[in-house]
């Protein structure tokens, strides 16, 4: 199997699993308990918090463990909206956020009286800083812009956005689920007030993440109950998960530079081969301001789900933004936001590599895509028309 869907989730690293194991059967104590194994758990949580904080230059006390990226996003948006309702009801975000942000915004709009501005992005998926500035009003309480996009890998000008937010006295949240451990992040330098993270994207376990909340940002608890997480997130701590998150964060930070260098080399090799060797194929997302592990192309005249099934038959795991894989009739909102026509968005393919992906794996995958594209175009009425000169390519123009 060649696993090229690391933006969906990653393999839990063996050393991460090993670090977690004692906290299931030996040190299983509740961290709130006074006896030995409880204190062990508490110590493990403290250490994990320090490791996680270090990756983003944060104070350990500002890291609040959650069940993952979606909870962190929900907490940041809903609690900020509630806490700052006296100041205003306006939130600025983008059209290409993860659904954990978009659907939360829609909820706040529909049921809680929020006003949301969804910023456009350019053809590479980048927000326009001038449009952001122009969108800020006295009622604006929060700017939430994802650090890097999960589908097309585009990395936003986070530092510039943070500066704009600070200058206008508006809080800044970023969903860094895809960026954490992949690219350098510094919450102080980038003026980030809140940041969402999920462990399973960096070879950690599923079901654990954190929300960074800068000291002084007064938002309330999202889950009420016990006094865990400095009374801001109730519930007995998921100690093995937290330990796994800490180990994964430490591991990701330690290997980041070397891994990024290798991934970028393989990423660019794949992009070059796909776009040069397959006619009517285009790269989606920014070629440079891009996550090291993300390849996303559109292959005209074919549909993504067919491509994925055929890749699966060859033992290659990938994903697509086609409607058939989204469970609706519309293809990915991200691909539409960068201006792709529906026809092209349906034929998108995302390959997300890992530090373990070899050049050989990459070439095998590209060869498989080439072969399948030829086969699918051979049965495509759109390609038949294109070949007969009755239809123009939307990619070649």
């Amino acid at each position: 199997m060649i696993y090229l869907d690391n933006a969906a989730t990653t393999k839990t690293a063996p050393e991460v699993v090993e670090a977690m194991l004692p906290y299931f059967t030996e040190n299983y104590g509740n961290a709130s308990s006074i006896y030995g194994i409880g204190a062990e758990s508490k110590k493990a949580i403290t250490e994990a918090r320090e490791k996680a904080a270090k990756v983003i230059g944060a104070r350990p006390d500002d890291i609040y463990f959650t069940a993952g990226g979606s909870e962190s996003d929900n907490w940041a948006l809903k609690a900020t909206f509630e806490a700052f309702s006296g100041k205003g009801n306006h939130i600025i975000t983008t059209k290409i956020e993860h659904h954990a942000i978009l659907h939360t915004c829609e909820y706040l709009e529909k049921y809680r009286g929020a006003r949301i501005t969804y910023l456009d992005v350019d053809e590479n998926g980048l927000v326009d800083l001038e449009q952001l500035k122009a969108a800020i009003t006295p009622e604006t309480i929060l700017i939430s812009v994802m650090f890097a996009n999960n589908e097309i890998g585009t990395i936003q000008p986070i530092k510039e956005i943070g500066t704009i937010a600070e200058e206008h006295g508006v809080l800044f949240h970023t969903d860094a689920v895809q960026a954490f451990g992949q690219v350098p992040i510094d919450v102080d330098e980038m003026n980030i007030d809140m940041l969402s993270m999920s462990a399973h994207k960096i070879n950690g376990p599923k079901g654990i993440g954190f929300l960074y909340i800068r000291k002084g940002v007064k938002i309330r608890s999202f889950i009420h109950g016990g006094a865990q997480e400095r009374k801001r997130r109730a519930g007995t701590e998921n100690v093995p998960g937290i330990v796994g998150l800490g180990a994964a964060a430490e591991r990701a930070a330690a290997t980041m530079n070397e891994r990024a260098e290798k991934e970028i080399r393989i990423r660019d090799h794949m992009i070059k081969r796909l776009t040069e060797e397959i006619p009517q194929c285009r790269l989606n997302g920014d070629p440079v301001k891009r996550l090291p592990n993300n390849v996303n192309v559109s292959l005209e005249f074919i549909e993504g789900e067919s491509l994925l099934i055929m890749l699966d038959m060859k033992g290659i795991c990938a994903s697509s933004g086609s409607a058939c894989t989204s469970g609706s009739l519309d293809p990915s909102h991200v691909l539409l936001a960068i201006g792709l026509p529906h026809e092209i968005a349906h034929g998108s393919l995302r390959l997300t590599i890992s530090g373990e992906t070899s050049q050989e794996d990459a070439d095998t995958a590209v060869d498989a895509v080439k072969e399948i594209v030829t086969q699918l175009r051979g049965m495509s009425p759109l390609y038949e028309d294109f070949a007969a000169g009755k239809r123009r390519s939307l990619i070649d123009g």
Partner: protein
């Protein structure tokens, strides 16, 4: 997600291709929605479907329903072909996931569209066949569908 039969027809689609000087050709669907089916029919002088081929742009279910539809109408008379409904196609494939039912509807429409084209070309009326929904238009670029 898919039945074994759907997977079989997707992996080894029957009757893929074109028929030159076909008696009737029908194209249905919409590239915007991600499904287009084109059905070619070769109908003999007795009104029997001698051959049937298809080309499809779409998901696994779209390919499988097209393939099964061609199997079901091959060798049938026009009247018999009209009884090949989306339900019949779905049953023959041992079912489809609910979100994919529209693919089978498209297969039925593709047969009807090809038969309509045949009727138009020959100036005849086929009992029980009405003008197919032409939802294939994609705007000004649309040519000869």
């Amino acid at each position: 997600m898919y039945s074994e039969k759907v997977m079989d027809h997707f992996q080894n689609p029957r009757n893929v291709g074109e028929i030159e000087d076909a008696s009737g050709v029908g194209t249905v669907g919409n590239a915007k929605c991600g499904d287009i089916m084109r059905m070619y029919l070769d109908i003999d002088e007795n009104g029997v479907i001698r051959d049937c081929k298809f080309k499809t742009f779409g998901c696994g279910a779209a390919v499988a329903t097209s393939s099964m539809a061609t199997e079901l109408v091959k060798g049938k008379t026009i009247q018999e072909a009209l009884t090949v409904t989306n339900k019949a196609v779905m049953e023959a494939l041992d079912g489809l996931p609910p979100v994919k039912v529209h693919c089978s509807l498209l297969a039925e429409e593709a047969i009807h569209a090809a038969l309509w084209d045949y009727a138009q070309k020959n100036g005849i009326e086929i009992e029980g066949l009405s003008r197919p929904k032409s939802d294939i238009s994609e705007g000004e670029e649309e040519e000869d569908y």
